[in-house]
Amino acid sequence: MMHESTVKSLSDALAAHELSSLEATELFLGRIRTLNARYNCFISVDEERSRAQAREADRARAAGRATALTGVPLAQKDIFCAKGWLTTCGSKMLSNFVSPYDAHVVERLNAAGAVILGKTNMDEFAMGSSNETSWYGPVRNPWGTEAVPGGSSGGSAAAVAARLAPGATGTDTGGSIRQPAALSGICGLKPTYGVCSRYGMIAFASSLDQAGPMAKSAEDLALLLNAMAGFDARDSTSLERPAEDYTRDLRQALAGLRIGLPKEFFAEGVQPEVAKAVDAAIAEYEALGCKVVEVALSNMRLSVPVYYVLASAEASSNLARFDGVRYGYRASEYRDLEQMYERTRAEGFGAEVKRRILIGTYVLSHGYYDAYYIHAQKLRRLIAQDFTRAFENCDVIMGPTSPTTAFRIAEKASDPVQMYLSDIYTIAVNLAGLPGMSIPCGFDARGLPIGLQIIGNYFGEAQMLNVAHQYQLATDWHLRAPPGVV
């Protein structure tokens, strides 16, 4: 079935003129029309705009100007500004914001000829691990609609899992690509910090935010990252590096690869079925000729508190721009400027976003700055140094992406600390700025997917994609579709 296509197989079919971009786009738009009500993956769909892009892609191909992604329809996380598209970031604050410009990632995907199918649902301002903080309502997990899809890129993850899009963009500040990829049974990659430009990607925590691809296979992630990555002078943290072909190493054999296993990833708190599936994946890698070495990430337990100080501090600063003056929501009743700001922000932001702004404001305020913010920055260095030492003895690090499979909607919504611990295995990677990915490696007894996390050294994306691709040649977890979506 065409909707089962990977980005790669669609790309090949388009190149062979077996179908047009318009046909492929219509197929996915049709699925979104029928199935989105069940999952709530998309905040906006604009069929005419998508069709116009598809026709343009077909013209480009006819004129001999096609890239690997020309005509491939993709979903964009609603954190990316896309010109002419409603861009809400999952918030009431931006519920009326039609972006006047494109994010760099969107600009690059458009230039490659990809078609935007729609803008996907997400936790408000990317703050959440379940997609429940969205002003547009929770996304439902295609593997069990009473469960969350993970977050914050939950709409993108569920859209790919439900075959409403062959691939999607996501962003990852503390695990927001990898954790929903794991909980929704798909693949997701967070590149090394600085590989994708943050320009036009609505900022949450600028020293941690990074864009990345989400899709059904490692090969698809490589194709998407080829188009998304690249230097951009408009992001002061974008890295000036020669362009890479992330597909270049996919076919390399893995014999001799050293896999680091941190014992901290298999400590108490991990669901036994998750540990068992990850162990089985490691055994598969050993069968492929890899060697396992034990490594220590002894400061990892501090990553959650460190993250909630640093990310909240950066968020409180970044979200100061939402004041009801230049764009977005403005309160309807106020007597003066002060009250206009205070009411706009009280009404426009949801509870979790306000909590984080208050944490951030508190830890940055006079008298607390050194005790919290600077202290957390020092611990951030210790956490990063753990990885540097670990990579002296291994090529990649593996473990679970998330301690549990998808939890039920509302199960953790009233306990922020429990929710935050859902990202315990992913956050340290952002603090260090390393690349990390998640690929499917099994299911629990309820049929909910389990993710294997692969962490690489700085700029190790091509190697990680090779490691994931070789596993996917030997196993078929990534090809499983949720019951009822096909």
């Binding site: 230049r326 003066d336 400027l337 002060e338 508190y362 600390v417 700025g433």
Partner: protein, 95 residues
Amino acid sequence: MALTRDDVKRAARLARIAIDESEANQVLEQLGRIFGMIEEMRAVDVSGVEPMAHAQDVVLRLRPDEVTEQDQRELFASVAPRVQNGLYLVPKVIE
């Protein structure tokens, strides 16, 4: 060091977020739990460690002092809540 309701109200004031008494109590309870988790971090000795502000040790790029942006004033004003004669309208701040 326990967080107080005054701390919450002060932070809300600094962040320009209107908050009423019942909300302040609710937020205090949740922030109390979050800061309980954060306290664990404060017990660790970090003497002699340099703060890490950023994932890569990048230095800010300099660029030639040239105009690179086009004038898109009307386009950007088109998404503003209230605009008149190309100016953003807010309540009067100077009598």
